[in-house]
């Protein structure tokens, strides 16, 4: 699953730790999501979308789907 979490986080000037605190997860989880090595649960994906003020489909995209 590709995602724009790292891009949006950098736009807001947040560290991975700060984003983790906003989401209620560890920095390790944020790193894993940003690198595409861990797909968040649906509730966590909704929290991420809410934090960035975006829709889930704007943030996450399946690997086989081009933009």
């Amino acid at each position: 699953m590709k995602n724009r979490v790292a891009e949006l986080r950098r736009e807001r000037g947040w560290t991975q730790r700060e984003l983790g605190e906003r989401l209620g997860v560890s920095r390790q989880t944020v790193i894993a999501i940003e690198k595409g090595r861990f797909d968040p649960s649906l509730p966590l994906a909704f929290r991420i979308a809410r934090v960035f003020g975006a829709a889930i489909e704007e943030l996450f995209q399946p690997d086989d789907e081009s933009a």
């Binding site: 983790g20 209620g24 560890s26 989880t29 790193i31 999501i33 649960s41 966590l44």
Partner: protein, 134 residues
């Protein structure tokens, strides 16, 4: 980590300390009990063997619930490393058991199984932590 996670950690450490103390007490008490000449018997040894691990089982069960309740990569690491440790321990135990039965290898200490399981769990956790978030 969030404040809720910190509180969960504190509760976990309190529970771990309490259950470990209880476990040590049961091991010492059970050892003393089965060594009493008047109270020896297979039923007593069986009872001690079955009841002594209960605090550790309760602690591991609680730890499992906490890890699976985490909404993050830790839950995934925990699940994968636990299953890896289980299968490594099962494969090694089966292989060694067959070699013990057919090739006459010496019977190992029960601690060896514990060490293999914990070692496999530790290695799998470290590797997965590195693999998923480095």
């Amino acid at each position: 980590m969030s404040e809720q996670a910190t509180q969960t950690e504190r509760r976990w450490y309190r529970l771990a300390a309490g259950m470990t103390l209880l476990y040590v007490g049961l091991v010492l008490g059970g050892t003393w009990l089965v060594q009493q000449p008047a109270a020896s018997g297979p039923w007593l040894r069986g009872m001690v063997g079955l009841l002594t691990p209960l605090p550790m089982l309760a602690l591991l069960w609680k730890g499992r619930r906490i890890m699976l309740g985490l909404d993050g990569v830790e839950s995934s690491i925990y699940l994968r490393s636990t299953s890896a440790a289980f299968f490594v321990t099962a494969a090694l135990s089966l292989t060694y058991g067959l070699l013990e039965a057919f090739a006459g290898l010496p019977r190992p200490s029960a601690f060896l199984t514990f060490l293999v399981a914990m070692g496999a769990w530790g290695v799998a956790t470290a590797w997965l932590s590195w693999r998923l978030s480095s």
